[in-house]
Symmetry: C2
Subunit: 197 residues, 2 copies
């Protein structure tokens, strides 16, 4: 266990005890992360993101609805910076043409369009992207694309769980920012979850 | 200002300063509540929900994605109880037939089906429903319906902002539970927001 993830051994424990591998690379963690949320775990996650990214001096956190909201808000509470969640469908109150980027839909198949109102991202902002999973990176890249459109500066990418076997970290290298995952899954063996050391 | 909402005068101030009335009963508060989230305000909201509902001894908080998640999580952090958010589309990890109830869609028109996995609500649980708005009450009633299906006990309903002119509170009377809104808007006059005392 490296210094870097020492604090998060309890996240690993929760994944091991309560996560369930459904095959095809799909990990079910809806007991504490993306359908039911454990607030104490989430506070720990927020604390850890804040510890790792504070030096980047983020002024805003960006995530995508729905499952990114809880970890992003927890991090925003610790860093005391506003949290913006990209919308997947246009609310009545989003009147003008927002920043847009396409991302895959995890529930409907196909893709969804992520939207962020112009008023919430501007040049001069330092944006930290937080999401629940780092896997295909397509959602994260869509968020990074929105940051770029806005003229703001991307300063980091944080995920609660990384599926290293999908090679996402390499795919983010060109963005040239700090990337942090709080638990890194190297692979599955049967229904056993193997973490990277 | 009554004792009951004394703590939340700053929520009113935020609504007055940063909210924008778009006509047709639609209040735009996406600067701090449902597109961008102010974490400090959200912590205050969580504190206030906890203060008002602690005596009901809730064991779980239930909300609907997307905009209910932040206030529900903030309340969950203060009360240290798990937060369940009803899904509007079925994730891959939601394999069995969930509890379901129809609610209106605020973004797409028509309606959406709210879904909660059976494993997260059971008889014996004491459920507090938290949402961003108390208005038509159709979403809140859908959540209450899901609580009923599960055999759990509904112990309270909390909303950040109530649009009193939609008469929602009366529509919830038959549920016979404590209903609390942190800011109650009586009506709009032109673009001015009139709060109930």
């Amino acid at each position: 266990m490296t210094e870097n993830n020492g604090y998060m051994h309890w996240l690993r424990e929760r994944i091991e005890k309560e996560g369930r591998y459904l095959g095809n690379g799909i990990l079910k963690v809806d007991v504490f992360l993306n359908h039911q949320v454990d607030p104490l775990l989430m506070q720990g996650i927020g604390y850890e993101f804040a510890r790792r990214f504070r030096a980047q001096d983020p002024t805003k956190i960006l995530t995508a609805e729905t499952s990114g909201i809880a970890p992003a808000l927890a991090a925003g509470m610790m860093l005391q910076v506003p949290v913006v969640f990209a919308r997947k469908s246009k609310p009545l109150t989003l009147s003008h043409e927002p920043y847009q980027a396409d991302a895959p839909s995890h529930t409907k198949g196909g893709h969804v369009t992520l939207m962020v109102s112009h008023e919430f991202l501007s040049p001069g902002e330092r944006v930290l992207i937080i999401d629940d999973f780092l896997a295909s990176t397509l959602t994260i890249r869509a968020l990074a694309n929105i940051v770029e459109q806005s003229g703001a500066t991307l300063v980091g990418i944080g995920a609660v769980i990384e599926k290293a076997f999908e090679g996402g970290r390499g795919k983010l290298r060109d963005l040239n920012v700090q990337v942090e995952s709080l638990a890194v899954i190297e692979r599955f063996e049967g229904d056993k979850i193997i973490f990277a050391e």
